[in-house]
């Protein structure tokens, strides 16, 4: 009963200075909206990464040098890949890959600077589930012979030849002229790699022409993808590869200089990264909510000072300390709740909008809505209490005399 009246008094107090109330609320709006959007963005990123990794193809193992181990990147060579292909039982194919420095390319009178060049073995399209759209991929014989052929990413083909088929045309990569024998299908960007913006060459050609200044081992590979026959053979294949490579590299199998990862491992790693990213974003958003709360406290303190005479008058007319306390506390709570509500609407709307516009993949975390709104309410009570208590403490005669 009495609460309703106090609520009305508080509401009047806020509506009398609309611009200020709005600006104060803005802090909370931004805080709440960013909590929701940030969580939606990182949750969307997690989903996207999982999708992309699954899209790489099922039953794929990724063999690479052990990360963070000095010298490990030098020991993984093309012969390791061939040994796996020949000796490991239960696989359908391997694709060894190496990426030399980016090259300038030229064809059909068009020049493109700094294009990623990837050297692969012949099974690349099959192992990586990445089909050739036009023409064909090079075969193992061409790879062995260092045939001067190239397969273009869909984007590169479009940039160089437009809508015309480039098959049979010549492309100059660096200083070597190559014959274009195929164009890959469109794949887009997966895990930050633009598959369409690359050019694919036989890995032995890459060793010969594009790996320079690495005299010791110009046959190093960056990654060996191994396609396993079926899910139940994965463990066996991992064991075989571990034994084989440990022997070839002459290292202790307990401390290898290489790693064999499943897609699940990679997903787990990526999830750990995005979880850290999400926590960071949540903290940043939470801090902006806190700053919004401090904004409320600041304005409420100013408001109490400005309205000291009003407080004195209300006290003279019979307002008790708790009436004054409630009036100002409610003002702060209304500010934060209205801010919270608008923030939720903007946050949810913004998340949908990002998704719809294709800016970012977002997935709203349902829990983030009550969480952000509740935090806004707590912020209002917490930061509104001190100014309200200051107002309630004022002595009527002092407040009435205040100029």
């Amino acid at each position: 009963m009495k609460f309703k009246r106090t609520l009305r008094i508080a509401w009047e107090g806020l509506t009398l200075n609309k611009v200020r109330s709005f600006l104060t609320t803005l802090g909370v709006i931004i805080g709440v909206a960013s909590v929701i959007v940030m969580l939606a963005v990182s949750s969307g990123a997690e989903a996207a990464i999982a999708d992309q990794i699954n899209a790489l193809g099922a039953n794929l193992l990724i063999v690479g040098p052990m990360r963070g181990m000095p010298g490990a990147s030098k020991t993984m060579v093309i012969d390791d890949a061939l040994a796996i292909e020949e000796q490991v039982v239960g696989i359908t194919g391997i694709s060894a890959e190496q990426a030399p420095p980016a090259q300038d390319i030229k064809a059909n009178g068009v020049s493109l600077e700094a294009i990623s060049v990837i050297g692969t073995t012949a099974d690349f399209p099959d192992v990586r589930d990445y089909a050739v759209a036009d023409g064909r991929y090079f075969n193992a014989v061409e790879d062995d012979r260092k045939a001067k052929v190239a397969v273009l990413g869909a984007g590169i083909a479009k940039d160089l030849f437009g809508e015309f088929s480039p098959i049979g045309q010549t492309v100059t990569v660096g200083s070597t002229k190559l014959t274009i024998i195929g164009v890959m299908e469109e794949k887009g960007i997966v895990s930050d790699l633009d598959y369409d913006g690359r050019i694919y060459l036989p890995i032995n050609l890459v060793f010969q022409k594009y790996i320079t200044g690495m005299t010791l081992s110009s046959d190093r590979v960056k990654t060996i993808y191994v396609k396993v026959e079926s899910q139940d053979k994965i463990d066996s294949v991992i064991t075989q590869i571990n034994v084989l490579l440990a022997e070839r590299h002459d290292v202790d199998p307990a401390a290898p200089d290489f790693s064999v990862q499943t897609q699940q491992d990679i997903i787990a790693t990526q999830e750990a990264t995005t979880a850290a990213f999400r926590d960071l974003l949540a903290w940043v958003a939470g801090i902006s909510l806190l700053v919004g709360g401090i904004g409320i406290m600041n304005i409420m303190l100013v408001s109490v000072t400005e309205r000291t005479r009003e407080i004195g008058l209300r006290q003279a007319l019979g307002a008790k300390p708790q009436d004054v306390l409630m009036q100002f506390l409610l003002e702060a709570i209304i500010l934060s709740l209205v801010g919270g509500l608008v923030g939720v609407i903007l946050g949810v709307g913004g998340s949908y909008l990002f998704n719809a516009l294709g800016t970012m993949q977002t997935r709203i975390v349902p829990l983030s809505i009550p969480l952000a709104f509740g935090a806004a309410a707590i912020v209002g009570i917490f930061f509104g209490y001190y100014p309200a208590a200051q107002a309630a403490k004022l002595e009527p005669i002092v407040a009435l005399r205040h100029e």
Binding site: M1, K2, R5, I9, E12, L16, R309, E310, L313, R314, Q315, A316, L317, G318, A319, K320, P321, Q322, D323, P396, I397, L400
Partner: protein, 239 residues
């Protein structure tokens, strides 16, 4: 008949030791129901302190204050707020209207703080309108204070003081900020209230205003130096 206002040896002491100031040094006042009393005195005499204590805005250091049969000199802040709301109507020199509220909303303010009975919105409005009509402002309900004259603003303040039907009206220099014509209007209204049975205690330093009261109490150095029907001339002599 018992007094509506009675103080016994009222003292207000500020500071300690050498710096002690006796703003009130032992004041005994009685005001009967229906009286119109003026309190006069030079600045620093203690009349404002006395008014603050009579208005339950301040508590005495020593002594007793009995208002309408209740000892109010040592009440808590909450209880004093209730006493102010129910027993006292204030008229200030500076009007103290809330500038952003309409005259009607200003007059309704005290009813927001009524402790016991819940006044319905309609009833509160009706009472505020009646109160404004009583001071001749029935046609100015929706004006902001800035849109009406000083005399009219003070009449709104009087309407606000009357709206809870308090037994005592306290007026602190009610004509201090007004021109002589408006002052006459305000005094006329106070006379009318008095004629209708209101008890009024008014602080002023203007003899011609004090002359309208039945009785003038003259305060100096925290003590009452005269109290009577021709008090204002006596008080003026002692200035």
């Amino acid at each position: 008949m018992t007094a509506l206002i009675e103080t016994r040896n009222l003292k207000k002491i500020y500071g300690t030791g050498e710096a002690t100031v006796h703003a009130l040094a032992g004041v005994d006042v009685k005001v009967k129901r229906g009286e119109f009393v003026a309190i006069m005195g030079p600045s620093g005499s203690g009349k404002s302190t006395l008014m603050n204590i009579l208005g339950c805005l301040d508590s005495p250091t020593e002594g007793e204050y009995i208002l309408d049969g209740r000892v109010v000199s040592q009440l808590s802040r909450e209880e004093l707020a209730e006493v102010r709301n129910q027993k006292l109507g204030f008229i200030f020199q500076a009007f103290n209207l809330l500038p952003r509220l309409s005259t009607l909303a200003n007059v309704m303010l005290p009813m927001l703080y009524n402790p016991d009975e819940e006044v319905s919105d309609d009833e509160a409005r009706n009472r505020a309108v009646a109160s404004l009509e009583a001071v001749g402002l029935g046609s100015r309900l929706d004006h902001l204070p800035s849109e009406i004259s000083g005399g009219q603003q003070q009449r709104v303040a009087i309407a606000r003081a009357l709206v809870n039907n308090p037994p005592v009206i306290l007026a602190d220099e009610p004509t201090g900020n007004l021109d002589s014509k408006s002052s006459v209007e305000i005094i006329d209204i106070l006379h009318k209230l008095h004629d209708n049975g209101a008890t009024i205690v008014m602080v002023t330093h203007e003899p011609e205003i004090a002359r309208h009261a039945q009785r003038v109490i003259c305060v100096r150095d925290g003590l009452i130096i005269s109290d009577g029907h021709d008090g204002e001339s006596e008080c003026m002599r002692s200035y």
